[in-house]
């Protein structure tokens, strides 16, 4: 009896997950269709760029600064042991550009901007504002979703660039403080050992993560059911969905480009 009930629950969850994955795929197709021919609501896009990007800069700068410094503290014992002072810039730069920067900032972006986006769209849905748009012959995909997807992709890339730069500044500061390594040494280690491809690898991940966060947050926002309680559930589902997507896509992109 218990086994049967557990199996039923498991089946229900798998079906729900399949429905959500399918829903996000359909939304992706609708967004692509809305972009052919390329038409963008300029006012909505600018409003979202400002709202999503501008207010995220302080938190990204603060986090990236600590992460850059933290990596040096973790490396310090080994750098001293092996005398690998010339590799500090390369090691931290490689990790920040290719993995830590895109993933960390992506997850933070998902928790701040993605969650906010889901809450906003879900509230619009339960208060009939989305119906209101349709009643005025305005396509919600074109008016609400497309500007958000574009804004999130652009802003996550921009924030990753800022975060990468600030993390390296944090690395230089802590290298000097903890290991007495001059910032120039860190810098030359970085530029001598890393190429544009390392930087672009991370940027391409941010672009994909931005799309995943946007689509996940828009999907759960627009399919919300059940008033205020439903809004909370939608935000939770969107953040979890975006986090899982980021990890999966990161693995996939790293594996395919290794």
């Amino acid at each position: 009896m218990i086994f049967r009930r557990s199996l039923t629950q498991l089946g229900g969850r798998v079906m729900a997950m399949a429905r959500d994955v399918g829903g996000v795929f359909v939304l992706t197709m609708e967004v692509l269709r809305a972009l052919i021919p390329p038409r963008l609501d300029g006012r909505e896009t600018v409003r979202n760029l400002y709202k999503m990007g501008n207010r995220s800069v302080p938190i990204v700068v603060l986090t990236a600064l600590f992460v850059g410094g933290l990596m040096v503290i973790q490396f310090a014992a080994f750098v001293k042991q092996f005398g690998a002072r010339a590799l500090v810039g390369w090691g931290t730069g490689y990790a920040v550009f290719r993995e830590v920067g895109p993933i960390l900032i992506g997850l933070m972006f998902s928790g701040r901007v993605g969650a906010n986006n889901t809450a906003e769209l879900a509230t619009m849905t339960v208060t009939e504002q989305v119906d209101g748009l349709q009643a005025l012959a305005i396509d919600p995909i074109r008016y609400l979703v497309v500007p958000r997807v574009v804004a999130m992709m652009i802003m996550l890339v921009a924030l990753t660039v800022i975060g990468d730069a600030v993390a390296l500044i944090g690395t230089m500061i802590m290298s000097y403080v903890v290991l007495d390594i001059h910032p120039y040494t860190v810098w030359y280690s970085l530029v001598d050992n890393l190429g544009p491809s390392d930087f672009l690898h991370g940027i391409s991940k941010s672009l994909v993560f931005g799309a995943a966060i946007a689509l996940s947050s828009c999907y759960f926002g627009l399919t919300v059911r059940g008033g205020a309680v439903g809004v909370g559930r939608a935000v939770n589902a969107a953040v979890v969905g975006a986090a899982v997507s980021i990890c999966f896509l990161d693995f996939l992109m790293t594996y395919l480009t290794a």
Partner: protein
């Protein structure tokens, strides 16, 4: 395609709709002539708002046929529906104001997206807001408004584009009697000016009976009664008469539903 002379502006035939196994509408048939004023009354949660959304093409029926302004909504694809919606104005029960836009921008929204010139938009928005008694509130955001003020902004937005068919879902819920009277005067004046067709869902039976020329009562998912508004309070059907008068019948079954329907949403008072 427009509603030709003699052709109904709205025509429903055997319309059915269910949500998750719960039947909301079952075989609803109604006709509204061009320029007509239909009032729809009935117990709360009886499918009145769903009926309006079906007429606006926001939902598809499970059964039956719907023709609006000459378009078959059951067969219509999304581009055709979008084109049709430009000719329809709608006031939502919960206002549906865009909370990221100011009062003036909310009212201007349909005109802006219809490509109307900026100076004409400004003039029409100012005139609409004056008409609903909200001159001076242009720059306020929806969150700063009371329920009654939101309702009036919603009415201004629904009527600013001079649509051929205007659907009002509870246009005066939460408004005081004086404002209610003014709102219906406004709807009447608008209709006289534009020749539009109006469908009004309302729990304020007396007010909607005074406004509409025809009343339909929705009960148990079906049209229980249709007739001239003047005959509503003396209808032969006891259920209809009791509901219209707010009288008790069969253990207060109808009365309790009508009282529930007349009760405004929390925070809806102006």
């Amino acid at each position: 395609m427009t509603a030709r002379d003699g052709q109904a502006a709205v025509e429903l035939e055997g319309v059915g709709k269910a949500f998750g196994g719960r039947r909301v509408l079952a075989g609803v048939s109604l006709t509204v002539p061009p320029g007509g004023r239909l009032g729809i009354i009935g117990p709360a949660a009886g499918g009145k708002s769903v009926l309006l959304k079906l007429i606006a093409g926001l939902q598809r029926p499970d059964a039956g046929a719907i023709r609006v302004l000459g378009h078959d909504l059951v067969a219509a694809r999304e581009p055709e529906l979008a084109a049709l919606r430009k000719r329809i104005g709608m006031l939502f029960q919960n206002y549906a104001l865009f909370d990221f836009l100011s009062v003036a921008d909310n009212v201007a929204f349909p005109l802006l997206h219809a490509g109307v010139a900026a100076d004409e938009i400004d003039a029409r928005v100012a005139a609409r807001l004056r008409a609903v008694g909200l001159a001076g509130s242009e720059s306020k955001m929806p969150a700063e408004l009371s329920g009654g003020m939101k309702k009036r902004v919603g009415i201004a937005r629904a009527t600013v584009a001079r649509a051929e068919l205007v659907l009002y879902d509870e246009p005066t819920a939460g408004l005081d009697p004086v404002t209610t009277s003014k709102i219906y005067d406004l709807l009447r004046a608008d209709q006289a000016e534009t020749g539009s067709t109006a469908v009004v869902v309302s729990s304020d039976v007396a007010a909607v009976a005074a406004f509409a020329d025809t009343i339909a009562m929705l009960h148990d998912g079906r049209i229980r009664w249709v007739g001239a508004a003047a005959g509503l309070f003396d209808a032969d059907d006891l259920v209809v008469r009791s509901f219209a008068r707010g009288e008790e019948r069969d253990g207060a079954a109808v009365l309790s539903r009508s009282v529930e329907a007349a009760r405004p949403a929390p925070g809806a008072w102006p």
